[in-house]
């Protein structure tokens, strides 16, 4: 077991959570009023946790770098949220959701955590509907579902292409209710710069007021890190521009282990890069794969003609197209999991079949769906002998009702009409399965410090299935942390307020100020973005969709060198005691430059291919990922020891008692 105790309760899988809840310590309502909790990040996990804590009676302080909790990047999640409600009667159950998630994660997640996630998933939907989240409904007034990748049932609840927005606004509303009652104090435009540990327990944070530049001390009896993922390590990603790893990384530097940092999700359907000026990538929801068919030309010469603009995709005959996902994975077709779809796209583009100028794009085609829906609509409307043009028009209307906002988004960015010509898509960094190591309580290796949502590593293994991130964020915040944090806080009912004038706070604040001064005084030649872009290129080329020993070793070296250069030559204009976006970015990139190296080391250490982690040395003759359960059926948890290269690896062995480990097949 080592020093990693996952604290998984005993008993049969399906009873663990209930049994555990009955056994953990509780804090009585009167005492909760004397206990403070800090929540960093106000996305689905942080927002729902903060609202739930406040409702239980704790005093909560929330922190976000945006000007409103409502702007956390959960807002951008498009497709949906899974729940094992089995409203469609298609055989869904908690067990199936659990099974699909563990399998989808390529058997690198913890059984007990995932089962609990499946178990509470139904409650999330009930909760959100009560809060007024306007999920899509059918004409009977009941909730509608759609399908997502990697599963054979329809269990995804959605609100058009804005499910994340609606769920986040639900959590935000729940927060607002508590802010109104004075139970939550919301600090916006504040960034957590460090964690303060007193007597071995997380007791506070140091923040920077992003408007005034003021460094502030905040104390509490427990700290929850819900600051999201670290995909911006790649510079170009579907993350928000400000998304960063600072809170999580600085917690890591204070003793929390970082788990599976190399497990990154590269989402298959994003709008391709258009040029050097590009600042971010835009996702086209996975839900589009319900209706869109992915293809490239069958012949290299056609691909070349398309790239040169001599041939239009619509001119290519059906038999000249290679629907490579349908060809390779007949059972799941276009709805294979994300890692599989992404790698398949890369494989085709690397082989020379890419369809945009840079050769890094494949088609996502709605023509078949438009005609199918059109004919259906014509039939149900009692129209006979309608021509193709009319059917197409009807079909376009149906598609617009389903995905209108996504199509509009695409048209705005690419300047092509996706109803008339197939969309061009390419994989992009989208989510990080890795994160702070947590036990069953979601507690990190620092007592009193918890991690929730994307910031922790717990539920998705080596690959996350679509519509599971929203589920996990809300499960952690609404239904897990409110119980498990009480078990820790039960010891604190007599502690009283934590003073902020202690030597521990003094010391951490000094560290923070030193770091800021160092950044401000570097006075070098290059902007922060210069380094960020360089880091992103290294990450994408050597730690991206496919990785090998040589590249990873180079990445470790290059990132270390880049980090050294950064600290000597970065240029941060403006002042530290002022609104200063460059200083904000500099702090974030400094952390990415450390995490990047650890990421590459982790990928190098894991000599197998699993989920989103594809090592070229470990693949089947057909090019599928080759897992090594004998040697790598564990969670890598890295302990900070100064320089990233000195980080110490701890292993948490994964035990599968309820699922038989199999080769993941979607064929």
């Amino acid at each position: 077991m080592g020093i990693l105790d996952s604290k998984i309760p005993s008993g049969p899988l399906a009873e663990k959570w209930t049994k555990y809840k009955n056994e953990i310590d509780l804090v009585n309502p009167a005492n909760k009023r004397n206990i403070d909790i800090i929540v960093v990040g106000t996305g689905l996990a942080g927002g729902s946790a903060a609202a739930s804590f406040a409702e239980l009676g704790y005093n909560v302080k929330t922190f976000c770098y945006q000007d409103s909790p409502r702007r956390a990047h959960s807002i951008a999640a498009q497709g949906g949220i899974n729940a094992s409600k089995n409203y469609q009667g298609d055989g869904d159950s908690d067990y199936r959701l659990f099974y699909d998630t563990v399998k989808g994660g390529d058997y690198r997640s913890r059984e007990a955590n995932v089962y609990r996630l499946a178990e509470v998933s139904g409650n999330i939907i009930d909760q959100c509907v009560s809060q007024g989240v306007p999920f899509a409904r059918d004409y009977g007034g009941l909730l509608d579902n759609r399908s997502f990748g990697g599963v054979l049932v329809s269990r995804t609840f959605y609100a058009k292409g804005q499910t994340g927005q609606q769920l986040l606004l639900g959590a935000y509303a729940a927060m607002n209710r508590q802010i109104h009652r004075g139970k939550i104090k919301s600090y916006t435009r504040h960034e957590m710069l460090d964690l303060v540990i007193v007597d071995g327990k997380a007791r506070g944070i140091i923040t920077r007021n992003l408007i005034t530049g003021e460094i502030e001390r905040h104390s509490a009896h427990a700290v929850v890190i819900a600051s999201g993922g670290y995909g911006n390590l790649f510079f170009l990603s579907t993350y928000a521009m400000g998304a960063n790893v600072m809170a999580a990384w600085r917690t890591h530097r204070r003793g929390a282990f970082m788990a599976n940092p190399c497990f990154t999700q590269i989402h298959p359907t994003c709008i391709p890069v258009s040029g050097e000026h590009q600042s971010k990538l835009t996702l086209m929801s996975e839900s589009l794969r319900n209706d869109g068919r992915i293809w490239v030309p069958k012949r290299l010469e056609d691909a070349q003609a398309i790239r040169e603009g001599k041939l239009k995709p619509t001119q290519l005959k059906e038999e000249d197209r290679d629907y490579y996902l349908e060809r390779r994975y007949p059972a799941f077709g276009n709805l294979v999991p994300r890692d599989v779809a992404s790698r398949a796209a890369k494989e085709r583009c690397d082989a020379g079949y890419g369809v945009n100028k840079t050769g890094e794009a494949v088609y996502l085609d709605f023509d078949a769906a438009i005609m199918r829906y059109g004919s259906e609509k014509a039939l149900t409307s009692g129209l006979k002998n309608t021509d193709d043009g009319h059917i197409r028009k009807l079909g376009e209307e149906v598609v617009e009702a389903k995905y209108g906002n996504l199509f509009q988004m695409y048209e705005k960015i690419v300047d092509e009409n996706p109803y008339k010509t197939p969309m061009m898509i390419y994989p992009a960094v989208h989510y990080t399965m890795g994160g702070l190591w947590v036990d069953y309580n979601l507690q990190t290796t620092i007592p009193g410090c918890y991690a929730a949502g994307e910031a922790n590593f717990s539920d998705h293994g080596a690959n996350r299935l679509g519509a599971s991130a929203l589920m996990q964020g809300l499960a952690d915040g609404y239904f897990v942390l409110p119980y498990t944090i009480g078990d820790f806080l039960a010891d604190d009912i007599r502690t009283g307020p934590i003073p902020t004038d202690s030597v521990e706070f003094d010391k951490v604040e000094k560290d923070v100020l030193d770091k800021i001064n160092k950044l401000m005084s570097a006075n070098g030649t290059h902007s922060v973005d210069y380094y960020h872009k360089k880091l992103g290129k290294i990450m994408w080329n050597k730690c991206g969709m496919s990785r090998n020993v040589k590249g990873l070793k180079e990445a470790v070296e290059e990132i270390a060198a880049l980090r050294k250069d950064f600290w000597e030559n970065v240029k941060v204009p403006g002042a530290a005691d002022d609104k200063n976006q460059e200083l904000e970015k500099a702090g974030r990139v400094a952390d990415f430059l450390e995490l990047g190296e650890l990421f590459a080391m982790d990928a190098l250490e894991r000599n197998e291919s699993c989920g989103g982690h594809f090592r070229e040395e470990y693949q089947t003759p057909e090019g599928e990922a080759l897992r090594d359960d004998k040697n790598f059926k564990f969670v890598s948890a890295w302990e900070y020891k100064g320089e990233p290269k000195d980080a110490k690896l701890h292993k948490e062995n994964l035990i599968y008692e309820n699922i038989e480990l199999k080769t993941r097949s979607y064929k």
Binding site: Q66, D67, D126, A136, G141, A159, Q162, T282
Partner: protein
Amino acid sequence: MKIYLKIWRQKDASSKGKIVDYTMNGIEGDMSFLEMLDILNEDLISKGEVPIEFDHDCREGICGSCSLQINGRPHGPDRLITVCQLHMRSFKDGDTIVIEPFRANAFPVIKDLIVDRNAFERIQQAGGFISVNTSGRTVDANSIPIRKENADKAFNAAACIGCGACVAACKNASAMLFTSAKVSQFALLPQGRIEAAERVQNMVRQMDLEGFGNCTNTGACEIECPKGISLENIARMNREYLGASIKG
């Protein structure tokens, strides 16, 4: 293309601001408007100047951070998009573009093009919620059937991203569209009806306290709203408010 920029610069909330001219060369149509500003900022940094601060985050039109008044219109000349979705192909070589922060007394400038939209927060905190506990021990989701039409309308109102374009576009700097979107969403759902009267009264009271102007039904907000929130919501809020007030 070559673009001439006139950008509002203001050191902080208490300083006086002014329009500063910049000229940009080599701008491509595929660049987003904010990427054009990124390039300008890189240039300023290399010259040792302080870059221009503007709010932005998701850059895909959903977080509601970006808030620029471009050539006299919030989010620029195109309809149904935010600034981050605006591309330079909407401009021509040689164009002059005036960029200002959203202006309203309820949205004081923090720095350059960044404004403080906490007034919106306070309006939401005053009543933008359904008072249901987060325990998950509510009724089964499907035990509350909702007419599809109402569910769709509630969704359309809920699509508001809280960017403040409605206030920026309104000649009176009125926040009626923003406030009414949340009031409408909940008023249309059976879950929200229970406290509908208190909600609308509390939210409108807070809206008035923040110093926004009055609605004169010009419809500018609806035209400029990046999410197409309808004026129907304002009418619904008027109805809800007056009804609630009469019932006492």
